[in-house]
């Protein structure tokens, strides 16, 4: 077990393994996202109240889910890096941050586009929207903090603390619609009760979430490889490989 972790933690091995893994995430992700796009836009029935406008859900909900999922991945990786002093874990956290920021941005923008016709406003400062915006700032702050250190080790440790502190925001985002009266509606799927969304609309949503999840896997493989290259640019194994 420990041997395996150390082997994976070694940059050359991880670099090769990630290169082999990437297509196993990338191609299924492309397939599932295309399938879910067709299913969600064409095959799924229109909503009884919102008509076709509800279909933005197929981008909004998976993005919002991934924005929180990515943050937890980033915080856990930062924690592992901090406790076990594994450089690769810090590299993974660094690789995840811009992905998470992009998903958060997408969730906010699609929500805003939907909010204008449905609620009557682009933006409100209710607990759900505000906490999701805070998540975007946490990602951006994490990236800015990393960039402000020249020494990668100090950057790793300082930013890891920020990533861990910020993880408190994730349950707040999720439960914001339960704890406070918000304009944003309560959860339709991520609850113990049965989903409040009809099955023909739910299936493409699940396919899209699976697709986003695999897309994240592909992105992290690619980005982590790039991060390893950047950190190991003077290492001898890279020169030997060429």
């Amino acid at each position: 077990m420990w041997l395996w972790i150390h082997k994976f933690g070694s940059p050359p091995h991880a670099y090769r393994l990630l290169g082999k893994l990437a297509p196993w995430f990338g191609w299924p992700a492309l397939g599932l996202i295309l399938l879910a796009t067709w299913w969600g836009l064409v095959k799924a029935p229109a909503d009884y109240q919102q008509g076709d406008a509800f279909r933005i859900l197929y981008v909004h909900a998976p993005s919002a889910w991934m924005s929180m999922f990515t943050y937890v991945v980033m915080a856990v990786a930062a924690g592992i890096g901090l406790i076990w002093r594994i450089k690769l874990a810090h590299a993974a956290a660094a690789a995840a941050a811009p992905i998470g920021a992009a998903f958060t941005f997408l969730a906010l923008v699609t929500g805003s586009i939907w909010g204008k016709p449905m609620w009557g406003t682009w933006w409100v400062w209710d607990a759900r929207l505000t906490s999701e915006l805070l998540l975007l700032f946490l990602y951006l702050g994490y990236m800015a903090l990393r960039a402000s250190f020249d020494d990668p080790q100090r950057a790793d440790r300082a930013s890891a603390v920020l990533a861990i502190v910020g993880v408190i925001n994730v349950p707040i985002i999720h439960y914001s619609v339960v704890w406070w009266s918000t304009l944003h509606q309560a959860a339709s799927v991520t609850k113990l009760d049965k989903p409040s969304i009809a099955l023909p609309m739910l299936i493409p949503l699940f396919i899209m979430i699976a697709g986003f999840q695999l897309y994240f896997g592909w992105l992290i493989c690619r980005r982590l490889r790039a991060e390893i290259l950047r950190r190991e640019r003077n290492a001898s194994w890279l020169k030997e490989a060429n």
């Binding site: 029935p45 909503d47 901090l82 609620w119 009557g120 409100v124 408190i168 009809a198």
Partner: protein, 154 residues
């Protein structure tokens, strides 16, 4: 303790500490984080009278009246316990209709009428095709009642 265990305790302590601090802070700001008041809260005088605030509830069936020749509308917001009369001049959002949950921002006039500057429709978490909605008609009223009860309890 080994250095590794020490770091583990440090990370756990950060998480617990920040978690507790956040919980207290959110507790303290509970009132301000409340996005809207229910009609019951307005009637019992919990809502501010000097500044503008938001009130949320269902538009009571049959209460919507339009003033001829202007954009002014009047309707009643209810949480099935109390109700508040609202007057609003402007364009209403797509989802606005009787029986729909809405949130109005404005001021309470002395005569108890709420003069809204902005009306937002609150969408619920239910998504379904029209056919399903039709077949659920009797059931839908029941869920409407529980939703309003939930709003009233905040």
């Amino acid at each position: 303790m080994t250095p590794r265990q020490k770091r583990m305790v440090t990370v756990a302590a950060i998480l617990v500490g920040v978690g507790i601090a956040t919980a207290f802070a959110l507790q303290a700001f509970q009132k301000n984080l409340l996005y809207y008041y229910s009609p019951s809260q307005v009637k019992s005088g919990e809502a501010p009278t000097s500044r503008s605030f938001r009130v949320g509830g269902l538009v009571e069936n049959g209460s919507l009246k339009r003033e001829p020749g202007s954009l002014e509308v009047r309707f009643t917001l209810t949480d099935f316990a109390q109700e508040v009369g609202v007057s609003y001049t402007g364009v209403l959002p797509d989802l606005f209709r009787e029986g729909q949950g809405v949130i109005a921002r404005g001021k309470l006039r002395d005569d108890g009428t709420f003069v809204a500057e902005e009306v937002l429709a609150k969408h619920d978490e239910n998504y379904m095709p029209p056919e399903v909605k039709q077949s659920l008609k009797p059931h839908a009223q029941a869920t409407g009642a529980t939703q309003a009860a939930g709003q009233g309890s905040t």
